[in-house]
């Protein structure tokens, strides 16, 4: 859910870049002696669409934050689960080390050095 909203905001950033790109293309085309009307129309329509998308999306995000924000800091944490998992991994690592030592001891006993 959070990733969707963040991805939507990243898409808004791309749209802002598109807005500036279209504005620059329009001005560049107007600077020429002979204008390509179809190109101008395409750029202008894309510019308008991008502006509307940016405004709509940012307005909806601000409206959602107005409904959801509490002003209090979030006190949730994954510390306990992370610690338990870390301890389980330490147990597994310890078992692996001890089994490795046991294996080496058995190899030494079974195949003594001449």
């Amino acid at each position: 859910m959070a990733n969707d909203r963040l991805r939507a905001l990243e898409e808004v950033e791309n749209q802002v870049a598109t807005i500036l790109q279209c504005a620059g293309n329009i001005v560049l085309e107007l600077s020429k002696d002979k204008h390509n009307a179809s190109f101008l129309d395409r750029q202008l329509s894309q510019f308008t669409v991008s502006v509307n998308r940016v405004e709509t999306e940012l307005s909806s995000q601000i409206k959602y934050l107005t409904q959801v924000a509490t002003g209090q800091p979030h006190e949730g944490s994954t510390y306990s689960a992370r610690k338990d998992c870390q301890m389980a991994l330490n147990r597994a690592e310890y078992a692996r080390v001890k089994l490795g030592e046991l294996g080496r001891t058995c190899e030494v006993m079974l195949d003594p050095q001449p």
Partner: protein, 204 residues
Amino acid sequence: MANQRALPQSKESLLQNYNKRLKDDIRSILDNLTEIIKTAKVEDETQVSRATQAEQDHYEMHVRAANIVRAGESLMKLVSDLKQFLILNDFPSVNEAISLQNQQLRSLQEECDKKLTSLRDEIAIDLYELEEEYYSSSYSQLDSTDLPLCEAYRRWDSWASPDGGDISGSAHGGVEDTDGPTSQETSPKHDLNGHGTTAAVDEP
């Protein structure tokens, strides 16, 4: 609007500021581009000379283009601020992310512990067999108070079996098994003193 809670003044003013910035930047981009397009129109009659008018139009277009770029930059900053605000204050998504992370960590921990438990059980089986082999050989030096695992299991089995009678009887029977020549006859290989074969040879 009916669902809107009473936010702290700082948060509410911050969100209002975001709205204002959005409206101003969009308005700035649209107005400046419109004015650039209007200025690009060639007019035959001008109040000043054509060169002066051209210079003025050139400068105005520069300024308006710079305004468009500034408004775009301000929109990017607004998006960045909204991302930050979302990460810090979007409690539903933060709760969901925390619960998902907790779930993943707990499942990893349970899997790890389950594998360690199965490993322990397998090693216990092998250890049982190894101890049985070792303590039945002549190389073991067993203290009478220290029972090997196989012997402890054997005694537990005899206590738990219904043929063994009461606990004292079966325990007594278990004790008898460990000392005296009876044990050597019934299980000649099982010796607790390490002298099984030698004792058997020495006896007449």
